[in-house]
Amino acid sequence: MAQPEHLLYSKEHEWVKVDGDTATIGVTDYAQNSLGDIVYVELPKVGGKVEQFGNAGVIESVKAVSDLYSPISGEVLEVNNALDADPAAINRAPYDEGWLFKVRLADAGETANLLGAADYEKLATL
Protein backbone atom coordinates (compact mmCIF):
# COMPACT_ATOMS: atom_id res chain seq x y z
CA MET A 1 0.00 0.00 0.00
CA ALA A 2 1.61 3.30 -1.02
CA GLN A 3 1.49 6.04 1.55
CA PRO A 4 -1.53 8.32 1.01
CA GLU A 5 -0.16 11.60 -0.26
CA HIS A 6 -2.42 13.94 1.64
CA LEU A 7 -1.39 12.67 5.08
CA LEU A 8 1.45 13.55 7.39
CA TYR A 9 3.42 10.89 9.24
CA SER A 10 5.42 10.34 12.41
CA LYS A 11 8.52 8.21 12.88
CA GLU A 12 6.41 6.01 15.16
CA HIS A 13 4.32 5.05 12.15
CA GLU A 14 1.20 7.11 12.83
CA TRP A 15 -0.58 9.22 10.25
CA VAL A 16 -2.38 12.54 10.68
CA LYS A 17 -5.09 14.01 8.47
CA VAL A 18 -5.42 17.73 9.19
CA ASP A 19 -8.82 19.35 8.54
CA GLY A 20 -8.69 23.00 9.55
CA ASP A 21 -8.20 23.00 13.31
CA THR A 22 -8.96 19.33 13.82
CA ALA A 23 -7.02 16.20 12.90
CA THR A 24 -7.71 12.50 12.54
CA ILE A 25 -5.02 10.05 13.67
CA GLY A 26 -4.29 6.45 12.86
CA VAL A 27 -1.42 4.01 12.39
CA THR A 28 0.10 3.29 9.01
CA ASP A 29 -0.01 0.21 6.85
CA TYR A 30 3.59 -0.48 7.84
CA ALA A 31 2.55 -0.41 11.51
CA GLN A 32 -0.43 -2.72 11.10
CA ASN A 33 1.67 -5.15 9.07
CA SER A 34 4.46 -5.18 11.66
CA LEU A 35 2.03 -5.65 14.51
CA GLY A 36 0.14 -8.49 12.87
CA ASP A 37 -3.44 -9.31 13.87
CA ILE A 38 -4.64 -6.53 16.19
CA VAL A 39 -6.90 -7.80 18.95
CA TYR A 40 -7.33 -4.79 21.25
CA VAL A 41 -6.75 -1.08 21.34
CA GLU A 42 -6.83 1.35 24.27
CA LEU A 43 -7.53 4.89 23.10
CA PRO A 44 -7.28 8.22 24.92
CA LYS A 45 -10.39 9.50 26.66
CA VAL A 46 -12.65 12.00 24.94
CA GLY A 47 -11.97 15.36 26.53
CA GLY A 48 -8.46 14.35 27.49
CA LYS A 49 -5.26 15.87 26.16
CA VAL A 50 -2.54 14.25 24.09
CA GLU A 51 0.96 15.58 23.53
CA GLN A 52 2.90 15.35 20.28
CA PHE A 53 4.98 12.16 20.45
CA GLY A 54 3.57 11.46 23.90
CA ASN A 55 1.84 8.29 24.98
CA ALA A 56 -1.76 8.02 23.81
CA GLY A 57 -2.68 4.46 24.65
CA VAL A 58 -1.92 0.93 23.60
CA ILE A 59 -2.36 -1.35 20.57
CA GLU A 60 -2.26 -5.06 21.21
CA SER A 61 -1.56 -7.75 18.67
CA VAL A 62 -1.95 -11.47 19.39
CA LYS A 63 1.55 -11.69 20.78
CA ALA A 64 2.43 -8.24 22.10
CA VAL A 65 1.42 -4.94 23.68
CA SER A 66 2.66 -1.85 21.82
CA ASP A 67 2.57 1.75 22.96
CA LEU A 68 0.51 4.13 20.89
CA TYR A 69 1.83 7.68 20.53
CA SER A 70 0.03 10.77 19.33
CA PRO A 71 1.73 12.42 16.34
CA ILE A 72 0.22 15.78 17.31
CA SER A 73 -0.95 17.64 20.43
CA GLY A 74 -4.55 18.44 21.12
CA GLU A 75 -7.81 17.77 22.95
CA VAL A 76 -9.42 14.46 22.09
CA LEU A 77 -12.79 15.08 20.40
CA GLU A 78 -13.77 11.60 19.31
CA VAL A 79 -12.49 8.03 19.39
CA ASN A 80 -13.32 5.21 17.00
CA ASN A 81 -15.61 3.12 19.20
CA ALA A 82 -16.17 0.59 16.42
CA LEU A 83 -12.66 -0.70 17.13
CA ASP A 84 -13.92 -2.13 20.40
CA ALA A 85 -15.78 -4.90 18.63
CA ASP A 86 -13.64 -4.88 15.49
CA PRO A 87 -9.98 -4.06 16.18
CA ALA A 88 -9.11 -5.90 12.97
CA ALA A 89 -10.40 -2.86 11.07
CA ILE A 90 -6.97 -1.36 11.78
CA ASN A 91 -5.34 -4.21 9.84
CA ARG A 92 -7.92 -4.14 7.01
CA ALA A 93 -8.13 -0.40 6.47
CA PRO A 94 -5.53 1.49 8.52
CA TYR A 95 -6.12 4.83 6.71
CA ASP A 96 -9.88 4.59 6.59
CA GLU A 97 -12.18 2.45 8.71
CA GLY A 98 -9.27 1.85 11.11
CA TRP A 99 -8.85 5.49 12.20
CA LEU A 100 -8.13 5.78 15.93
CA PHE A 101 -9.06 9.20 17.32
CA LYS A 102 -9.67 12.84 16.45
CA VAL A 103 -8.26 15.92 18.17
CA ARG A 104 -8.71 19.69 18.15
CA LEU A 105 -5.18 20.86 17.31
CA ALA A 106 -3.33 22.64 20.09
CA ASP A 107 -0.71 24.06 17.72
CA ALA A 108 -0.97 23.71 13.95
CA GLY A 109 2.74 24.56 13.73
CA GLU A 110 3.54 21.10 15.10
CA THR A 111 2.97 19.69 11.61
CA ALA A 112 6.47 20.90 10.84
CA ASN A 113 7.73 18.07 13.06
CA LEU A 114 6.06 15.46 10.88
CA LEU A 115 7.06 13.76 7.64
CA GLY A 116 5.47 14.01 4.24
CA ALA A 117 4.52 10.90 2.31
CA ALA A 118 7.78 10.68 0.37
CA ASP A 119 9.96 10.94 3.48
CA TYR A 120 7.82 8.48 5.40
CA GLU A 121 7.97 6.07 2.48
CA LYS A 122 11.74 5.86 2.97
CA LEU A 123 11.25 4.98 6.60
CA ALA A 124 8.55 2.43 5.89
CA THR A 125 10.49 0.45 3.34
CA LEU A 126 13.57 -0.29 5.44
Binding site: D37, V39, Y40, E60, V62, K63, P87
Partner: protein
Protein backbone atom coordinates in the same frame (compact mmCIF):
# COMPACT_ATOMS: atom_id res chain seq x y z
CA UNK B 1 20.01 -6.68 17.20
CA UNK B 2 22.75 -9.20 16.44
CA UNK B 3 21.59 -12.55 15.18
CA UNK B 4 24.92 -14.00 16.22
CA UNK B 5 25.15 -17.71 15.60
CA UNK B 6 21.49 -18.60 15.20
CA UNK B 7 20.96 -22.08 13.84
CA UNK B 8 18.60 -22.93 11.01
CA UNK B 9 16.49 -26.03 10.51
CA UNK B 10 16.53 -28.00 7.27
CA UNK B 11 13.40 -26.07 6.25
CA UNK B 12 14.82 -22.55 6.60
CA UNK B 13 14.93 -21.88 2.85
CA UNK B 14 11.30 -22.97 2.53
CA UNK B 15 10.25 -20.55 5.27
CA UNK B 16 12.01 -17.73 3.49
CA UNK B 17 10.38 -18.64 0.16
CA UNK B 18 6.97 -18.71 1.86
CA UNK B 19 7.53 -15.20 3.20
CA UNK B 20 7.67 -16.22 6.84
CA UNK B 21 8.45 -13.69 9.54
CA UNK B 22 11.47 -15.28 11.22
CA UNK B 23 12.47 -14.68 14.82
CA UNK B 24 15.17 -16.03 17.12
CA UNK B 25 13.76 -18.87 19.19
CA UNK B 26 15.84 -21.12 21.41
CA UNK B 27 18.90 -20.44 19.32
CA UNK B 28 17.17 -21.06 15.99
CA UNK B 29 15.68 -18.74 13.37
CA UNK B 30 12.08 -19.87 13.35
CA UNK B 31 8.87 -18.75 11.62
CA UNK B 32 6.49 -17.00 14.00
CA UNK B 33 3.94 -16.54 11.21
CA UNK B 34 3.62 -16.82 7.43
CA UNK B 35 0.37 -14.94 6.78
CA UNK B 36 -1.31 -14.13 10.07
CA UNK B 37 -1.40 -15.88 13.43
CA UNK B 38 -5.20 -15.88 13.48
CA UNK B 39 -5.52 -17.21 9.93
CA UNK B 40 -3.04 -19.98 10.67
CA UNK B 41 -4.85 -20.79 13.92
CA UNK B 42 -8.19 -21.01 12.09
CA UNK B 43 -6.70 -23.24 9.39
CA UNK B 44 -5.59 -25.77 12.02
CA UNK B 45 -9.02 -25.86 13.66
CA UNK B 46 -10.86 -26.08 10.34
CA UNK B 47 -8.57 -27.92 7.88
CA UNK B 48 -4.91 -28.55 8.75
CA UNK B 49 -1.64 -26.75 9.30
CA UNK B 50 1.96 -27.74 8.74
CA UNK B 51 4.56 -26.91 11.40
CA UNK B 52 8.37 -27.08 11.36
CA UNK B 53 9.38 -28.38 14.78
CA UNK B 54 12.92 -29.34 13.80
CA UNK B 55 14.36 -26.99 16.42
CA UNK B 56 13.21 -29.29 19.23
CA UNK B 57 15.78 -31.50 20.90
CA UNK B 58 15.88 -35.13 19.79
CA UNK B 59 17.89 -37.69 21.74
CA UNK B 60 18.16 -41.37 20.83
CA UNK B 61 18.59 -43.79 23.72
CA UNK B 62 19.83 -47.34 23.21
CA UNK B 63 20.61 -50.32 25.41
CA UNK B 64 18.90 -52.76 27.72
CA UNK B 65 18.89 -50.38 30.64
CA UNK B 66 17.06 -47.42 29.13
CA UNK B 67 13.58 -47.93 30.54
CA UNK B 68 14.63 -48.70 34.12
CA UNK B 69 17.08 -45.82 34.06
CA UNK B 70 14.62 -43.34 32.60
CA UNK B 71 12.14 -44.38 35.28
CA UNK B 72 14.55 -43.01 37.90
CA UNK B 73 14.77 -39.62 36.19
CA UNK B 74 11.21 -38.90 35.08
CA UNK B 75 7.85 -39.01 36.84
CA UNK B 76 5.73 -41.10 34.45
CA UNK B 77 6.16 -44.80 33.65
CA UNK B 78 8.67 -45.60 30.94
CA UNK B 79 9.13 -49.35 31.47
CA UNK B 80 5.43 -50.05 30.96
CA UNK B 81 5.36 -48.39 27.52
CA UNK B 82 4.33 -50.77 24.77
CA UNK B 83 6.31 -51.11 21.54
CA UNK B 84 5.65 -48.05 19.34
CA UNK B 85 3.90 -46.22 22.13
CA UNK B 86 4.53 -42.52 22.83
CA UNK B 87 4.15 -41.05 26.30
CA UNK B 88 4.31 -37.59 27.87
CA UNK B 89 6.80 -37.41 30.71
CA UNK B 90 8.35 -34.76 32.94
CA UNK B 91 11.89 -34.67 34.32
CA UNK B 92 12.10 -33.01 37.73
CA UNK B 93 14.68 -31.60 40.10
CA UNK B 94 15.06 -32.66 43.75
CA UNK B 95 12.38 -30.18 44.82
CA UNK B 96 9.85 -31.52 42.34
CA UNK B 97 10.18 -28.53 40.03
CA UNK B 98 10.38 -29.32 36.32
CA UNK B 99 13.55 -29.50 34.26
CA UNK B 100 11.45 -30.11 31.14
CA UNK B 101 8.33 -31.77 29.80
CA UNK B 102 9.04 -34.25 27.05
CA UNK B 103 7.71 -37.12 24.98
CA UNK B 104 9.26 -40.59 24.94
CA UNK B 105 8.78 -42.81 21.90
CA UNK B 106 9.48 -46.54 22.18
CA UNK B 107 10.78 -47.45 18.72
CA UNK B 108 12.32 -50.58 17.26
CA UNK B 109 15.66 -51.19 19.01
CA UNK B 110 15.86 -47.67 20.45
CA UNK B 111 14.00 -44.92 22.27
CA UNK B 112 13.48 -41.39 21.03
CA UNK B 113 13.17 -38.57 23.56
CA UNK B 114 11.93 -35.23 22.29
CA UNK B 115 12.60 -32.25 24.54
CA UNK B 116 11.79 -28.55 24.30
CA UNK B 117 14.17 -26.59 22.09
CA UNK B 118 14.80 -24.14 24.92
CA UNK B 119 15.91 -26.98 27.20
CA UNK B 120 17.90 -29.09 24.76
CA UNK B 121 21.29 -28.20 26.24
CA UNK B 122 20.08 -28.46 29.83
CA UNK B 123 18.45 -31.84 29.23
CA UNK B 124 21.48 -33.22 27.39
CA UNK B 125 23.67 -32.25 30.33
CA UNK B 126 21.16 -33.67 32.80
CA UNK B 127 20.96 -37.05 31.09
CA UNK B 128 24.73 -37.27 30.78
CA UNK B 129 25.22 -36.31 34.43
CA UNK B 130 23.12 -39.31 35.44
CA UNK B 131 24.46 -41.93 33.04
CA UNK B 132 24.74 -45.40 34.58
CA UNK B 133 27.97 -47.40 34.24
CA UNK B 134 26.49 -49.49 31.48
CA UNK B 135 23.30 -50.41 29.73
CA UNK B 136 22.48 -47.02 28.23
CA UNK B 137 23.80 -45.25 25.16
CA UNK B 138 22.86 -41.65 24.31
CA UNK B 139 23.03 -39.82 21.01
CA UNK B 140 22.16 -36.17 20.48
CA UNK B 141 20.40 -35.52 17.18
CA UNK B 142 19.36 -31.95 17.94
CA UNK B 143 19.23 -30.14 14.62
CA UNK B 144 20.18 -33.28 12.70
CA UNK B 145 16.71 -34.72 12.19
CA UNK B 146 13.72 -32.84 10.91
CA UNK B 147 10.33 -32.87 12.61
CA UNK B 148 7.26 -31.81 10.66
CA UNK B 149 3.82 -31.76 12.29
CA UNK B 150 0.52 -31.82 10.45
CA UNK B 151 -2.33 -30.85 12.75
CA UNK B 152 -6.06 -30.41 12.12
CA UNK B 153 -9.21 -32.37 11.36
CA UNK B 154 -8.05 -33.10 7.80
CA UNK B 155 -4.66 -34.47 8.90
CA UNK B 156 -5.56 -38.09 8.28
CA UNK B 157 -7.05 -37.39 4.85
CA UNK B 158 -4.04 -35.31 3.82
CA UNK B 159 -1.31 -37.63 5.16
CA UNK B 160 -2.86 -40.96 4.18
CA UNK B 161 -1.99 -40.83 0.44
CA UNK B 162 1.70 -40.35 1.31
CA UNK B 163 2.08 -43.31 3.67
CA UNK B 164 1.82 -47.01 2.91
CA UNK B 165 0.42 -47.98 6.32
CA UNK B 166 -3.12 -46.99 7.26
CA UNK B 167 -2.58 -43.86 9.39
CA UNK B 168 -6.30 -43.62 10.16
CA UNK B 169 -5.93 -46.85 12.14
CA UNK B 170 -3.16 -45.45 14.34
CA UNK B 171 -4.10 -45.01 17.96
CA UNK B 172 -3.52 -41.68 19.67
CA UNK B 173 -0.01 -41.56 21.18
CA UNK B 174 1.28 -44.44 19.09
CA UNK B 175 3.83 -44.48 16.27
CA UNK B 176 4.66 -46.35 13.13
CA UNK B 177 7.98 -46.63 11.36
CA UNK B 178 7.19 -46.47 7.68
CA UNK B 179 7.88 -44.31 4.65
CA UNK B 180 6.37 -40.99 3.70
CA UNK B 181 6.60 -40.44 -0.07
CA UNK B 182 9.25 -43.15 -0.19
CA UNK B 183 11.53 -41.84 2.57
CA UNK B 184 11.98 -43.51 5.94
CA UNK B 185 10.01 -41.82 8.68
CA UNK B 186 8.79 -42.23 12.22
CA UNK B 187 5.18 -41.08 12.32
CA UNK B 188 3.50 -40.44 15.68
CA UNK B 189 -0.12 -39.62 16.26
CA UNK B 190 0.73 -36.84 18.68
CA UNK B 191 0.46 -33.08 18.75
CA UNK B 192 0.33 -29.85 20.65
CA UNK B 193 -2.79 -28.21 19.26
CA UNK B 194 -5.77 -30.13 20.62
CA UNK B 195 -6.60 -31.36 17.10
CA UNK B 196 -5.99 -34.73 15.46
CA UNK B 197 -2.62 -34.85 13.81
CA UNK B 198 0.77 -36.41 13.30
CA UNK B 199 4.37 -35.60 14.01
CA UNK B 200 6.72 -36.88 11.32
CA UNK B 201 10.42 -37.45 11.90
CA UNK B 202 12.59 -37.62 8.76
CA UNK B 203 16.26 -37.07 7.91
CA UNK B 204 17.11 -33.44 7.24
CA UNK B 205 17.91 -34.10 3.58
CA UNK B 206 14.35 -35.30 2.91
CA UNK B 207 12.52 -32.59 4.82
CA UNK B 208 12.28 -29.81 2.19
CA UNK B 209 10.80 -32.06 -0.47
CA UNK B 210 8.29 -33.59 1.96
CA UNK B 211 7.29 -30.13 3.27
CA UNK B 212 6.83 -28.74 -0.24
CA UNK B 213 5.02 -31.81 -1.58
CA UNK B 214 2.53 -31.76 1.28
CA UNK B 215 1.83 -28.05 0.80
CA UNK B 216 1.58 -28.28 -2.98
CA UNK B 217 -0.63 -31.34 -2.93
CA UNK B 218 -2.99 -30.19 -0.18
CA UNK B 219 -3.07 -26.38 -0.33
CA UNK B 220 -6.29 -26.70 -2.30
CA UNK B 221 -7.82 -28.58 0.63
CA UNK B 222 -6.81 -25.85 3.01
CA UNK B 223 -3.35 -26.92 4.23
CA UNK B 224 -1.24 -23.92 5.19
CA UNK B 225 2.19 -23.50 6.80
CA UNK B 226 1.83 -22.39 10.44
CA UNK B 227 4.31 -20.70 12.72
CA UNK B 228 5.10 -20.61 16.41
CA UNK B 229 2.64 -17.78 17.02
CA UNK B 230 -0.36 -19.89 16.02
CA UNK B 231 1.14 -22.89 17.83
CA UNK B 232 1.09 -20.98 21.10
CA UNK B 233 -2.56 -19.90 20.79
CA UNK B 234 -3.61 -23.43 19.86
CA UNK B 235 -1.81 -25.12 22.75
CA UNK B 236 -3.10 -22.57 25.27
CA UNK B 237 -6.70 -23.10 24.13
CA UNK B 238 -6.11 -26.86 24.45
CA UNK B 239 -4.92 -26.39 28.02
CA UNK B 240 -1.42 -27.70 27.35
CA UNK B 241 1.46 -26.45 29.47
CA UNK B 242 4.35 -24.55 27.91
CA UNK B 243 7.68 -24.92 29.68
CA UNK B 244 8.77 -21.63 31.15
CA UNK B 245 5.15 -20.66 31.77
CA UNK B 246 3.06 -23.40 33.45
CA UNK B 247 6.08 -25.61 34.23
CA UNK B 248 9.41 -24.28 35.44
CA UNK B 249 12.23 -25.28 37.76
CA UNK B 250 10.00 -23.77 40.49
CA UNK B 251 6.55 -24.95 39.29
CA UNK B 252 5.99 -28.68 39.77
CA UNK B 253 3.91 -31.03 37.63
CA UNK B 254 1.46 -31.26 40.53
CA UNK B 255 1.04 -27.49 40.61
CA UNK B 256 0.71 -27.47 36.81
CA UNK B 257 -2.21 -29.89 36.74
CA UNK B 258 -0.09 -32.75 35.40
CA UNK B 259 -0.38 -35.05 38.43
CA UNK B 260 -1.99 -37.60 36.10
CA UNK B 261 1.55 -38.20 34.77
CA UNK B 262 3.00 -38.67 38.26
CA UNK B 263 3.45 -42.34 39.16
CA UNK B 264 4.22 -42.36 42.87
CA UNK B 265 4.12 -46.15 42.94
CA UNK B 266 7.54 -45.98 41.26
CA UNK B 267 9.80 -46.37 44.30
CA UNK B 268 12.51 -43.96 43.30
CA UNK B 269 12.92 -41.04 40.90
CA UNK B 270 14.33 -37.55 41.23
CA UNK B 271 11.77 -35.34 42.97
CA UNK B 272 9.60 -38.21 44.16
CA UNK B 273 9.68 -37.34 47.84
CA UNK B 274 9.02 -33.66 47.29
CA UNK B 275 6.13 -34.39 44.93
CA UNK B 276 4.60 -36.99 47.25
CA UNK B 277 4.75 -34.51 50.13
CA UNK B 278 3.19 -31.81 47.97
CA UNK B 279 0.30 -34.05 46.95
CA UNK B 280 -0.21 -34.95 50.61
CA UNK B 281 -0.29 -31.35 51.88
CA UNK B 282 -2.46 -30.04 49.04
CA UNK B 283 -1.70 -26.46 50.09
CA UNK B 284 0.24 -25.49 47.00
CA UNK B 285 -0.40 -22.66 44.54
CA UNK B 286 -1.66 -24.09 41.31
CA UNK B 287 -2.21 -23.34 37.64
CA UNK B 288 -5.81 -22.36 36.87
CA UNK B 289 -7.59 -21.33 33.68
CA UNK B 290 -9.07 -17.83 33.47
CA UNK B 291 -11.46 -16.26 31.00
CA UNK B 292 -11.47 -12.46 30.88
CA UNK B 293 -14.86 -10.79 30.75
CA UNK B 294 -13.68 -7.89 28.64
CA UNK B 295 -11.64 -7.29 25.54
CA UNK B 296 -8.32 -6.43 27.15
CA UNK B 297 -5.98 -9.43 27.00
CA UNK B 298 -4.31 -10.80 30.12
CA UNK B 299 -0.55 -11.23 29.67
CA UNK B 300 2.25 -13.08 31.44
CA UNK B 301 3.22 -11.38 34.70
CA UNK B 302 -0.04 -9.51 35.33
CA UNK B 303 -1.20 -9.62 38.96
CA UNK B 304 -4.37 -11.50 39.83
CA UNK B 305 -6.63 -10.16 42.61
CA UNK B 306 -9.33 -11.87 44.63
CA UNK B 307 -11.07 -9.00 46.32
CA UNK B 308 -8.30 -7.20 48.16
CA UNK B 309 -5.86 -10.08 48.07
CA UNK B 310 -3.09 -10.53 45.57
CA UNK B 311 -3.54 -14.22 44.80
CA UNK B 312 -1.06 -14.80 42.05
CA UNK B 313 0.06 -13.92 38.55
CA UNK B 314 -0.77 -14.70 34.96
CA UNK B 315 1.56 -17.27 33.34
CA UNK B 316 0.21 -17.25 29.78
CA UNK B 317 -2.47 -15.16 28.10
CA UNK B 318 -3.96 -14.75 24.66
CA UNK B 319 -6.88 -13.73 22.54
CA UNK B 320 -8.64 -17.04 21.85
CA UNK B 321 -10.62 -17.37 18.63
CA UNK B 322 -11.84 -20.86 19.55
CA UNK B 323 -13.16 -19.68 22.92
CA UNK B 324 -15.74 -17.28 21.52
CA UNK B 325 -13.07 -14.67 20.75
CA UNK B 326 -12.56 -14.18 24.47
CA UNK B 327 -9.23 -13.59 26.17
CA UNK B 328 -7.98 -16.59 28.10
CA UNK B 329 -5.11 -17.06 30.49
CA UNK B 330 -3.44 -19.45 32.85
CA UNK B 331 -2.44 -18.14 36.26
CA UNK B 332 -0.56 -19.57 39.21
CA UNK B 333 -2.98 -18.96 42.06
CA UNK B 334 -3.31 -19.54 45.77
CA UNK B 335 -5.52 -22.60 46.24
CA UNK B 336 -8.57 -20.77 47.66
CA UNK B 337 -8.74 -18.56 44.57
CA UNK B 338 -8.25 -21.38 42.09
CA UNK B 339 -11.67 -23.03 42.35
CA UNK B 340 -13.68 -23.15 39.13
CA UNK B 341 -16.22 -20.35 39.11
CA UNK B 342 -14.26 -17.95 41.31
CA UNK B 343 -14.58 -14.32 40.25
CA UNK B 344 -11.17 -12.63 40.10
CA UNK B 345 -9.59 -9.54 38.62
CA UNK B 346 -6.49 -9.25 36.46
CA UNK B 347 -4.57 -6.01 36.80
CA UNK B 348 -3.80 -4.52 33.39
CA UNK B 349 -1.78 -1.31 33.40
CA UNK B 350 -3.05 -0.33 36.84
CA UNK B 351 -6.72 -1.13 36.23
CA UNK B 352 -8.39 -4.33 37.46
CA UNK B 353 -10.39 -6.24 34.86
CA UNK B 354 -12.88 -8.98 35.78
CA UNK B 355 -12.16 -12.63 35.02
CA UNK B 356 -13.49 -16.00 36.09
CA UNK B 357 -11.77 -19.33 36.81
CA UNK B 358 -12.78 -22.05 34.37
CA UNK B 359 -11.86 -25.73 34.06
CA UNK B 360 -9.06 -26.69 31.72
CA UNK B 361 -8.88 -27.31 28.84
CA UNK B 362 -10.61 -24.29 27.40
CA UNK B 363 -11.05 -26.13 24.10
CA UNK B 364 -11.74 -29.77 23.30
CA UNK B 365 -12.20 -30.99 19.76
CA UNK B 366 -15.56 -32.47 18.95
CA UNK B 367 -14.27 -35.61 17.20
Amino acid sequence: MSVGTLRRTALYDEHVRLGARLVPFAGFEMPVQYSSILQEHDAVRRDAGLFDLSHMGQFVLTGEGVAAWADTLAINDVATMKPLQARYNIFCNEHGGAHDDTIFYRLDGRWLLVVNASNAAKMWDHLNAHMPFSGVGLANHHGERALIAIQGPKSVAMLAPHVRADVSAMKYYFCIEDEVDGVAAVIARTGYTGEDGFEIFVENEHAPKLWNDLLTRHAGEGLVPCGLGARDVLRLEAGMPLYGHELTEAITPVQAGQAWALKLRKPQFIGRDALAAQVERDDFSRIAGLVMEGRAPAREGYTVWHGHRNVGEVRSGSFAPSIGNKNIATALLQPAAATVGTALEVEIRGTRHPARVVALPFYKRST
